[in-house]
């Protein structure tokens, strides 16, 4: 079923504005997506009607807020096909989710000379926490190489695996290139040597159907703000037995069972990992984002986004000086490119002057840029509310910019 994009656009207030006197074209969706009215309403409703602290007050408001908060946890569980909602932990975002695993699972189970494997195309948030852990523990970070299209070399990955491998942490879909990694194969191969697997789902969860039980990964990290949801909220999924084996992340309220000055016993999962008053309003509003995605269906969203990606490639490939970066056969709707020897900043600024929002630079993937021998790219990333006519406008703009440079 194809979607009615005009109807969908009507749900997003932010899209209906002018920038520098031109209608806004928002192509920075891999950085963060816009929010439908239902999410904004859920936020105001919460503060207007239900605001109270959860899991503690014995009054009507606290009860309501607690119920809504836990309903989102249930919705996230369904969204990724987890076995039980206790496996869903709310965090600040993908970054915090990964750091949580590094600081708890990592510190407990990864020691001297143990190995952690990541890929060349990781976001800094899936590099730095492991470097910090390796530094602390004397563990070793190994890197899966990629080909020129931006795909991991699976045989090279297999060669890196050994009984020393304790964790493989890999991005499901690359934010800089769009590459969808063959994660099922990666997970199975890692498990075969007894390693655990963390998937960085920051970019994949908005485009791809996720069934965590089929995938069988041990951890999945993602951010609500890339899923039409509020900022400052993310999820860490972990398998029950793995989460239970891990020490807590932060100490405080909510995460305890009983505290005496002699000894504290910890609460059960997921609360063990949610110390302090959580981000209640955003968690509650996140349910509206998940409902929005469900109402459209991810296959329909992906089909629309794929058609935008294909169309943009078709229009841009003809432009003299257009250099695509990341040409994997399996991609989410991310188009990374350069124009001749133009600096991506300049291209971005010129597109901005046309009302077109793209991201420019290294996209928090400096080692990946280095692999391609470039400083950065221009990245246009498409979402369900983007249209072909917006792509045509971008292509015209880029053609003009390329002509300016070539003259």
């Amino acid at each position: 079923m194809s979607l009615n994009i005009e109807q969908i656009r009507a749900l997003f207030p932010v899209l209906h504005q002018e920038v520098h006197g031109k209608p806004l074209i928002y192509f920075d969706n891999a950085a963060t997506t816009q929010k439908p009215q239902a999410v904004l309403d859920a936020l105001t409703n919460y503060y207007e009607r239900d605001n109270s602290n959860i899991h503690r007050g014995a009054h009507a408001l606290a009860d309501r807020a607690t119920r809504y908060y836990e309903e989102t946890r249930e919705a996230v569980k369904e969204f990724i096909g987890a076995k039980e909602s206790a496996e869903i932990i709310f965090t600040k975002g993908t970054t915090e989710s990964i750091n949580l695993v590094a600081q708890t699972f990592g510190r407990k189970f990864i020691g001297k000379d143990d190995e952690i494997i990541i890929s060349t195309m990781e976001h800094h948030s899936n590099i730095v926490p492991w470097q910090m852990l390796c530094e602390e523990k004397g563990a070793i970070l190994k890197i899966i190489p990629i080909n020129d299209a931006g795909e991991i070399l699976f045989e090279e990955f297999e060669k890196l695996l050994s009984p020393k491998t304790k964790l493989v942490s890999i991005v499901h879909a690359s934010n800089a290139l769009g590459t969808i990694n063959p994660v099922k194969k990666v997970i199975d191969a890692a498990h075969a040597v007894g390693a655990k697997v963390l998937l960085d789902g920051a970019q994949s969860t908005s485009h791809l159907e996720i069934n965590i039980q089929d995938l069988n990964c041990d951890f999945l990290a993602f951010s609500a703000h890339k899923l039409y949801g509020p900022t400052g909220l993310g999820v860490l999924y972990g398998k029950r037995e793995v989460l239970e084996s891990m020490p807590p992340f932060m100490g405080g309220g909510e995460m305890i069972k009983e505290v005496t000055f002699e000894k504290t016993t910890y609460n059960d999962i997921p609360f063990k990992f949610e110390a302090g008053t959580p981000n209640i309003a955003d968690v509650i509003a996140f349910k509206a984002s998940l409902d929005f995605i469900k109402s459209l269906g991810k296959p329909a969203i992906k089909a629309h986004e794929d058609s935008l990606l294909a169309y943009s490639k078709e229009l841009l490939t003809g432009i003299k000086g257009f250099i695509p970066v990341g040409t994997a056969s399996e991609k989410v709707s991310v188009l990374s490119f350069n124009i001749n020897d133009m600096h991506p900043f300049d291209v971005g600024q010129m597109l901005d002057a046309k009302g077109i929002a793209v991201r420019t630079g290294h996209h928090c993937t400096q080692p990946l840029m280095k692999r391609f021998g470039i400083e950065g790219t221009v990245r246009a990333s498409f979402s369900v509310y983007n249209t072909k006519s917006e792509i045509e406008k971008m292509a015209e703009g880029i053609a003009q910019i390329a002509r300016f440079k070539n003259k």
Partner: protein, 143 residues
């Protein structure tokens, strides 16, 4: 030679002609970069890069007959255009004149909203570095 004030007036009126059209303004700034003197290859090194700019900007200065002569380059065309404006205003002047200069044209043409906050910070770093060179030459002249 026109005064710093006169040149700034000139620039302001050039930008006034472009009006609110952000696109033409950006294209214009990029074209201005073409006015820069060729930058000596052997000076394209780390120590000549201005700190605080997102893009790379190389800046050097010489003293010629008691006046400061600047040369600069960048890896982005917009930044080249920006620095060419600064050089047009400040080049080949006595250090004290440069140090006293109030570069109000930047505000008057609304550069902040044309180039955005990141690049505005970079522009401020460029001005600071140009003034630092002037200060160094002034100190030397007075020694």
């Amino acid at each position: 030679m026109s005064s710093i004030k006169d040149i700034q007036e000139e620039i302001v009126s050039e930008f006034e002609i472009l009006g609110d059209d952000k696109e033409s303004t950006i294209f214009y700034i990029m074209e201005l970069g073409g006015n820069l003197e060729a930058f000596p290859e052997n000076e394209r090194k780390e120590e000549n890069i201005i700190k605080g700019c997102q893009s790379k900007v190389w800046l050097i200065a010489d003293e010629v007959d008691g006046k400061v002569h600047y040369q600069a380059d960048s890896n982005t065309d917009i930044t080249k255009g920006l620095i060419s404006l600064l050089i047009r205003v400040l080049n080949d002047r006595r250090p004290e004149e440069i140090l006293k200069a109030d570069l109000d044209f930047i505000q008057r043409i609304g550069m902040g909203s044309i180039i955005g906050s990141q690049r505005s910070n970079g522009l401020a770093s460029m001005i600071k570095q140009m003034k630092l060179y002037a200060l160094a030459f002034q100190t030397k002249q007075n020694a």
